[in-house]
């Protein structure tokens, strides 16, 4: 009996050690962004393509207010309610951050003090970003107005509160492999805009029980995490619009029937309307190419 107990204790210690090891943080190399210089004009394009203000501007912001990244947007999910933080260039935001800090946040899902962010911050997509885009984005974010708003803590139940467990989630689901294989410059650009910056899959792809996107049902539509309605699929047989229709929708919000986007998609159009015609056409081409 004593022997059995000793075995269990031994086993539990080993399991805990393995879990601790597997859930560790893995930041980028300290020189990952060395030598890169940010261009704020290019960064603005990354900003709109990444949809940063949809979550980080105060809720219901319009026009110029969308550039004040005070946070406070609530994401209701089966795991609890996540509240977006202040990412304006102030002491309560990301004022003191380096390029490397932002790269670790976007590409590794890590805070400057080395703790895991929850994947409600869509770094599972941003992990595919180019480091040049990260540095350009940082240069643009530094030009935006400061807000002194305090970031609110997430409202999460136990055991979701154990941040270290996110490390295990990352080990299972954080990958920079592309989901759809494409060829040609326009298609690759479209894929980068959809799979990395635009994080379209976060709403348009169903999730598994761990809340990770199910890549085998990529962009096939999903329950709305807010519980209201269903988010439409974009896969063949689900969306029969032409590429021109998709690009025009992303520009103006008008469907081919001249209905207009509503709900969260209206906020997405506010971002995509700021992109170049070429980028919208690239997104449309990619959408038409998904299997």
């Amino acid at each position: 009996m004593r022997k059995l107990l000793r075995f269990f204790v031994f086993f539990a210690v080993i399991a805990a050690a393995v879990a601790w090891f597997l859930s560790r943080t893995e930041p980028l190399n300290a020189d990952a962004v060395a030598g890169l210089t940010g261009d704020p004009a290019r960064g603005e394009n990354v900003f709109w393509a990444g949809g940063c203000s949809s979550c980080h501007a105060a809720p219901n912001s319009k026009g110029e207010e969308k550039l004040v990244l005070a946070g406070g947007y609530r994401i209701n999910s089966p795991f609890g309610t996540f509240i977006s933080p202040n990412i304006s260039p102030s002491a309560n935001g990301i004022g003191g951050w380096s390029n490397l800090d932002l790269a670790n946040a976007l590409i590794r899902g890590l805070s400057p003090v080395g703790s895991h962010y929850y994947p409600s911050f869509p770094y599972a997509n941003y992990t595919k970003m180019s480091l040049q885009d990260v540095v350009d984005l940082k240069a643009f974010l530094d030009t935006l107005p400061s807000s002194e708003t305090q970031s609110q803590p997430h409202e999460l139940p136990f055991p979701v509160t154990i941040r270290r467990s996110v490390g295990l989630w990352k080990r299972l689901f954080l990958t920079d492999d592309w989901i759809v294989s494409v060829e040609g410059e326009q298609m690759e650009r479209g894929r980068y805009l959809v799979e990395a910056l635009g994080h379209c899959g976060e709403c348009h792809t169903p999730r598994n029980i761990f809340g990770a996107l199910d890549d085998t049902r990529w962009l096939e539509g999903a329950e709305n995490p807010s519980g209201e309605g269903r988010i439409p699929g974009l896969a063949p047989g689900q969306l029969n619009w032409g590429a021109d229709d998709i690009a025009y929708y992303l520009e103006t919000g008008f469907t081919p029937d001249y209905d207009s986007a509503g709900g969260e998609m209206a906020a997405v159009i506010a971002n995509t309307s700021q992109l170049s015609q070429e980028d919208r056409a690239a997104i449309a081409a990619y959408i038409k190419a998904i299997p």
Binding site: P232, Y248, T252, G253, Y258, G262, G263, A266, I269
Partner: protein, 157 residues
């Protein structure tokens, strides 16, 4: 007639009157919702021509573009108060309308959105007959006005 019977007849009568006035209110609300939906279709019909030209699917023609843009601005400028009566939202009519109750709440911004659409369609009216590039540029603000209101006040699919 005993007093008791008188009372019963009175209650029955009052109930009938009350229920018929409820019916009446429902009918007015339903008609208002129908009128709104017809208005949205008229917006879409005129936008269809302008958008078709903007996309290049329809050849640009200054005269018909101008006509559609004038229609659009006229529609947006109509006094729509009777189409948006209280009690004609989704809370009262269910699936017959996508209009959310927030439209009628005290902090509603719906009139600001209506004003944005009036302004955007006025700009379209000045632009549409001048050339295809002008028309194209005027579409996005119109779409933004539509989407801005739908984002907050229309039921999600």
């Amino acid at each position: 007639m005993t007093f008791k019977n008188f009372l019963i007849a009175g209650i029955a009568g009052a109930t009938m009157i009350a229920s018929s006035s409820v019916l009446h209110a429902d009918e007015a609300a339903e008609k208002a919702a129908e009128a709104r939906q017809s208005l949205m279709e008229l917006y879409a019909f005129n936008l269809g021509l302008l958008g078709g030209m903007a996309k290049g699917a329809v050849e640009y023609d200054a005269e018909s573009a101008q006509a559609a843009a004038t229609n659009l601005h006229t529609l947006a400028s109509m006094n729509q108060m009777a189409m948006w009566i209280p009690g004609s939202g989704r809370d009262a009519l269910g699936d017959e309308t996508d209009a959310l109750p927030a439209i009628w709440e005290a902090d509603s911004k719906v009139m600001d959105h209506a004003k944005e659409l009036v302004d955007a369609t006025a700009a379209m009216e000045s632009a549409a007959g001048s050339g295809i590039e002008e028309l194209r540029g005027a579409m996005q603000p119109v779409g933004k006005a539509c989407g801005g209101c739908h984002e907050l006040y229309r039921q999600k699919d």
